[in-house]
């Protein structure tokens, strides 16, 4: 007898495809947030599965902090071109130059500065919906997030006043100026993402695999040494993010587990060279994925505060 039965990855896939198609059908101007990271790589495959043989009916959007790993940018641009998608990039540098983003004195991370850039891009292109790769298993505040996450005209998330989501009926109705963030991978775990990458044979940027890199120790993490500052006519974009004399540089065999930018991504020492190696590592891991993210360590409620302000 034939078994009409889905395993857990097939179930997560069909759920995510359903959500992507709801977005295409119910919103006029959706965008898909694509950074080149592993979660958004899965989103692209799900978009292909949802919409082929048609074109993916939405542009890709990425917000650059200016501190990206060059490997990630190269990968992002190439994948967008291969899929025939329009890629829109907006940067924190532009936003600082035109005054819409104002750096806090002494703060070198540009993580929070992505918020006005993202909101600016939503306004510029009049996007009514942005699909993102966030997962509920990443962080406690995210565990309360909806698939369709309503944002008011200021881009804010109000966790106490979320729309109930019942069965597979998603309420995407908006008034002018409001928008929706949609997270098709809400129910995926880090392990599910890697198992899906394996099953679908998805290419990922090589920084996810073991390589030699110069690192230094700060805040309990191995941070990558930023690229050399060559253009003396401009200020060093990595000022403050370079190792001091008290932070010796070591060459280590490392990889990234989760990618923010170069100044907020902790490298993990790892010999994992293949997706199978990574799956083995994740299943034996004793630290959550976000444990290597400096941006989440700021306080217990760091993610909640950023999400309320309009973060991804």
């Amino acid at each position: 007898m034939k078994s009409y039965h889905l395993d857990h990855l097939e179930y997560l896939e069909t759920e995510a495809i359903h959500i992507m198609r709801e977005v295409a059908a119910e919103f006029e101007r959706p965008a898909l947030l694509f950074s080149g990271g592993k979660d958004s790589i899965c989103l692209l495959r799900l978009a292909e599965k949802a919409f082929r043989p048609s074109d993916i009916p939405m542009p890709f959007l990425n917000v650059e902090t200016g501190h990206e790993f060059p490997e990630l940018i190269e990968f992002r641009d190439r994948r967008a071109a291969e899929l025939g998608a329009k890629l829109i990039v907006r940067t924190v540098d532009q936003a600082i130059a035109n005054g819409t983003a104002v750096p806090a004195p002494g703060e070198i991370s540009r993580n929070k500065l992505q918020i006005p850039v993202l909101l600016g891009a939503i306004e510029e292109f009049r996007f009514d919906c942005a699909i993102g790769g966030a997962r509920r298993d990443e962080e406690k505040a995210r565990a309360k997030e909806r698939f369709f996450s309503f944002r008011d005209a200021f881009g804010q998330w109000d966790p106490k006043n979320q729309r109930p989501e019942i069965w597979n009926l998603y309420n995407g109705r908006l008034n002018p100026g409001e928008n929706m963030r949609v997270f098709p991978l809400s129910n995926w775990t880090e392990m599910d993402v890697w198992e899906y990458i394996k099953k679908e044979r998805l290419e990922v940027p090589n920084i996810y695999f073991s390589h030699q890199r110069e690192c230094f120790r700060r805040g309990g993490q191995w941070l990558p040494v930023p690229p050399a500052h060559t253009d003396a006519t401009k200020p060093d974009p990595y000022a403050g993010a370079r190792p001091t004399a008290k932070e010796p540089i070591k060459t280590l065999v490392v990889r990234v587990r989760t990618i923010a930018d170069m100044i907020s991504t902790g490298m993990i020492e790892s010999p994992a060279n293949t997706v199978d190696d990574i799956i083995g590592e994740v299943s034996a891991a004793r630290v959550t994925e976000r444990g290597t993210r400096a941006d989440d360590k700021a306080s217990e409620a760091a993610m909640e505060d950023r999400k309320k302000a309009g973060y991804f």
Partner: protein
């Protein structure tokens, strides 16, 4: 494990994640109970005893233990993610948790028990295979126990676990366990729940959660996790009566591949049943019949598809079909109509009143709807029916009649959770204000067109 967890217990370096590669089944469940019944503690215990906790989560627990718990670890802090929740020791919203054992993966909806309980429980339970109703062994069956059991039955959750918790506080008395069990068995026959399991436990100490308790030699059943790992869920899927609500029409623009010039795909998620290439189907509301020419997927054409796969099908005839239409099998036709009878759970502070207009979202279509009458309000604490109430307020369950501007193609909720459910959306604020479960149609659709489309 019979003592409250210590930091060193939590650090035991064992991983029980599923070995990669092997297909693993997914079980979705929700937990419900009133305040202090120990819901969050139970989930924390499942995560902890199944070795699903990570070092940094344990560190965060340690930090909050020093801050608010006087050094005692509070497993509830694992699920209470928002600042207000930790400060006030409450859970505000449905929180989702994920853990895995070598046998299954689990998605847990932790639904808070105090304010908004009905709304949150309906949300968390709507996608669940199984509900866990927690009962404090000292208190036995209270109003909330009846309420949660009723809601589980209203939503037609296939499996129910009555977790009789805090057994340590009644000296592990078998007699107390049997008393509570017989209290439940007095009213369970009023509710249509097929599979009910009673488990005596102490979530705080871990007895009968993951490891069998040495305090309950009189209990021969499985531990909670043992039950979650083995309860038969394969038949929970609805494989009767094919239904495909059309979600998105897939027509490539200027395809470079000439074969795609005439591609007209109907994309959607199979809501029930099985569809095969060559099978005859009907398109509703038009009533046109056609044959399935191809079931297209990104990974290649497939000979058949079943619930809940997301697919794109092509029919033999070029029919005018759009989002909101439904493709159905001929062997069992759904109902179709504008006058609907439904049970609703009201989820908004502004009450439901007769004559008010809402948007109604059902499968993939959203239509205007007006509430023509409120037939009854159901007291979910004692199951009494109050006829013709003037309104339904937040967390009320009632039976209503609705008239829609366009016909719905639907089944009764009892036979089809996806084509028998809807939500109501308030016009203006766009808030989701109700979850609705349709009564079956009095008769199946009788389409005007019975011929194959030309």
């Amino acid at each position: 494990m019979s003592n409250p967890p210590t930091i060193s217990d939590l650090r035991s370096p064992i991983s029980q994640s599923p070995s990669s590669g092997a297909p693993v089944e997914l079980l979705r469940f929700n937990t419900c109970g009133s305040v202090d019944d120990g819901k969050s503690t139970l989930i924390g215990r499942l995560l902890y005893d199944s070795k699903s906790l990570m070092e940094d989560q344990i560190e965060a627990l340690e930090r909050s233990a020093d801050l608010t718990g006087g050094g005692q670890i509070n497993l509830a802090n694992l699920t209470d993610g928002l600042r207000a929740e930790r400060e006030q020791g409450i859970t505000i919203d449905v929180a989702y948790r994920y853990f895995a054992t070598p046998r299954r993966k689990f998605i847990v909806a932790d639904t808070p028990g105090h304010v908004q309980y009905t709304r949150n429980m309906v949300t968390g339970a709507s996608t669940a295979n199984l509900s866990i109703v927690l009962v404090d062994a000292r208190q036995g069956v209270i109003e909330q126990s009846r309420r949660h059991t009723y809601l589980a039955s209203l939503l037609r959750i296939p499996h129910l676990v009555i977790a009789i918790n805090k057994m340590d506080l009644v000296d592990w008395s078998e007699q107390r366990y049997l008393e509570i069990r017989s209290e439940f068995e007095k009213f369970l026959p009023l509710l249509d729940i097929k599979d009910v399991k009673f488990i005596p436990m102490s979530a705080l100490n871990g007895d009968n959660v993951v490891d069998p308790s040495k305090h309950t030699p009189w209990y021969v059943g499985p531990t909670l996790l043992g039950h979650l790992e083995t309860v038969h869920i394969a038949s929970d899927l609805n494989l009767n009566g094919f239904r495909l609500p059309v979600q998105w029409v897939n027509r490539p623009n200027n395809p470079t591949n000439k074969e795609l010039h005439d591609f007209r795909g109907l994309s959607g998620q199979v809501a029930s049943g099985i569809i095969k290439v060559g099978q005859k189907v009907m398109v509703l509301p038009s009533g046109h019949r056609s044959t399935v020419k191809e079931i297209w997927t990104y990974d290649g054409a497939i000979p058949e598809a079943f619930c809940p796969q997301s697919v794109t099908i092509q029919l033999a005839h070029d029919l005018d079909i759009s989002r909101g239409d439904m493709i159905v099998g001929l062997e069992s036709l759904p109902g179709m109509g504008t006058d609907l009878h439904a049970k609703v759970c009201w989820m908004n502070a502004r009450p439901l009143q007769r004559g008010r207009k809402y948007f109604l979202k059902h499968t993939t279509q959203t239509v205007q709807a007006v509430v023509t009458s409120i037939d009854s309000r159901i007291n979910i604490n004692n199951y009494e029916v109050q006829p013709e109430p003037s309104e339904l307020v937040l967390n009320d369950i009632g039976e209503i009649r609705i008239k829609t501007a366009k016909p719905l193609i639907y089944d009764g909720y009892a036979t089809n959770r996806l084509t028998g459910s809807f939500i109501l959306i308030e016009q203006g604020t766009n808030a989701t204000v109700a979850a609705g479960m349709l009564q079956p149609a009095l008769e199946a659709v009788k389409p005007e067109y019975n011929d194959f489309a030309i």
